[in-house]
Amino acid sequence: MNAKTSDKIATGVIYAISSIVALILIAMLAFILVRGVPHLSWHFLTSPAKAFEAGGGIGIQLFNSFYLLVLAMAISFPIALGAAIYLNEYAHKGRFTTIVRTAIEILSSLPSVVVGLFGFLLFVVKFHFGFSILSGAVALTIFNLPLLTRSIETSLAQIPNLQREAGSALGLSRWETVIHVILPAAVPSIVTGVVLSAGRVFGEAAALIYTAGQSAPALNFGDWNPFNIASPLNPMRPAETLAVHIWKINSEGIMPDLSAVSAGASAVLIIVVLIFNFSARKIGAKLHKKLTSA
């Protein structure tokens, strides 16, 4: 075959492949939204799920998802921030740093179901937390830590060394430089990383089915005392999240409107994740504009 013909054929094939990939995504999004969005209503978003009859909602699951997300972020952010600061500002090249980086890499490649099982073994069984929000939040933290650490570290590494030198030249200690110079400069891209990881955490289910549990007991939304069992804030209650709910009803659900409920729930899940993904960079860019004169 002539080189020019094969060039044309190859280009055609590459175009075809890319269009197929684009079509797959569009078809999937369209499928979820077309099937799910008509089912969305205020009632669906706020009422509790029903196991045997039609007309149940996803109110409790939705609340659980956000509550777990907030808790998991509250635990994992300080740890990831500290680890990233040490790795980027203090660590020297050496055996210790290599070991730590390897450990983080391994943790990020662990299947999330293994993280969930570890959480089950340690927190649910050994520490007697039971299936609870707390166990789930810790499992999500473990799942989230390696990626969040890496993304914060990248944000810190992007700050030019000039800033650190300027800090030292003014007589600031390294810690003061980090707190007063480097971190403020890195805030926009750190926020972007945090919001992106929030999207991942929100959709995670495998790490939660054996830690936060697969049941959503009725909640009393008038009771905000975290020590009451029916209080939404109680961290020791089992809490099925939206993603777990979709998995659960599809594997063993028996309600008559199962496919409508799961389509609606999937649509909500995707919309929330999309909002996180789209807003991540926008918020970062906006913060950057606000914090700097650029």
Binding site: A3, K4, S6, D7, A10, T11, V13, I14, Y15, A16, I17, S18, V21, A22, L25, L29, F31, P78, I79, G82, A83, I85, Y86, L87, V100, A103, I104, E105, L107, S109, L110, P111, S112, V113, V114, L117, F118, F120, L145, L172, S173, R174, W175, E176, I179, G199, G203, E204, A206, Y210, A243, I246, W247, N250, S251, A263, S266, L269, F276, N277
Partner: protein
């Protein structure tokens, strides 16, 4: 005089703060390492008890084809704990998904880096990012409502099985492989391309003979990462694979993977019983395999560093 000496030899306020900040951030880092070590220690010690406490032989476990831990085999007085069906199932879906996804991933990343950079950045980049963001249960739900009925009507059978699992995993690992391949292709120096075009190569010749060759190690790394993701994916696969712990006869017979058996079984067994221990052994295999994928990536990186 003494006062001044004291002041000069004493640690300053900011030095104290610095060492404290250093200690706190080091503690955070150490915590991550401890978590990794703890995960390995706990899962492996649990997983090993099948062999040490229950006296199951390793080869029976790895190569036995009969999985039914709650039933005792009357001949050997041992329960049926052959894990080969699940191990095979996991490897089959992983390799098949990688084989299907690789051409699509390479094609898409070539489109984005070599053929239509502007449209690539404007259209394909967001599409790939969206695909990464879709939660795995949603993939599972689509697999269950679209892929499984489709397979059922085309090939017959129940529709559940390795083929459905492969299709779902293909879409899931496609963005992983694509985005990493794009990064590698972008890191191929520009003058490679220019030299190839200057000596009269067509664009495809340049891609095929120069760019792809130079990027091979990076592409292999991307594929291994995709495979690691496929191997560890639990819920989406569990929803479409059929969950029958049988040797896969063909691609459309219900079967199972390590992850699907784990998600189904852990909650239904009693902690410390043999039925439970064998599940932890499966989790251990999963853990060790993700270590193996990591080692492969490292080996590729070391051998294929771009000079």
């Amino acid at each position: 005089m003494d006062n001044i000496t004291q002041k000069l030899t004493q640690k300053s306020e900011s030095t104290k703060k610095d060492s404290m900040g250093r200690a706190v951030s080091l503690a955070a880092l150490a915590l991550i390492v401890i978590v990794v070590v703890a995960i390995f220690a706990f899962v492996i010690s649990r997983g090993m008890s099948t062999f040490f406490k229950d006296g199951v032989s390793v080869s029976d476990f790895l190569f036995g084809t009969n999985w039914n831990p709650s039933v005792i085999n009357p001949h050997t007085k041992q329960p049926y704990i052959g894990a080969l069906p699940m191990i095979l199932g996991s490897f089959l879906v992983t390799f098949l998904a990688a084989i299907v996804a690789t051409p699509f991933a390479i094609g898409t990343s070539l489109f984005m880096t070599e053929i239509a950079q502007k449209r690539g950045a404007k259209i394909m980049q967001p599409i790939i990012e969206l695909l990464v963001g879709i939660p795995s249960v949603v993939y599972g739900f689509i697999g269950l409502t679209v892929v499984v009925p489709f397979i059922r009507s085309v090939f017959g059978g129940s529709g559940f099985g390795i083929l459905s699992g492969t299709i779902v995993l293909f879409v899931m690992i496609l963005p992983t492989i694509t985005s990493m391949t794009v990064d590698t292709l972008k890191s191929v120096p520009r003058h490679y391309r220019e030299s190839a075009l200057a000596i009269g190569a067509t664009r495809w010749q340049m891609i095929y003979k120069v760019v792809l060759r130079a990027a091979t190690p990076g592409i292999l790394t991307a594929i291994v990462f995709g495979m690691a993701r496929a191997f560890g994916e639990a819920l989406a696969v569990q929803m479409v694979i059929g969950n029958a712990a049988l040797m896969p006869h063909n691609l459309i017979s219900p079967s199972s993977t390590l992850t699907s058996v784990l998600t189904m079984g852990i909650g239904n067994t009693v902690m410390g019983s043999l039925q439970n221990n064998v599940l932890w052994t499966l989790a251990m295999i999963l853990l060790l395999m993700s270590l193996v994928f990591n080692l492969i990536v490292r080996a590729i990186g070391r051998r294929g560093e771009m000079k």
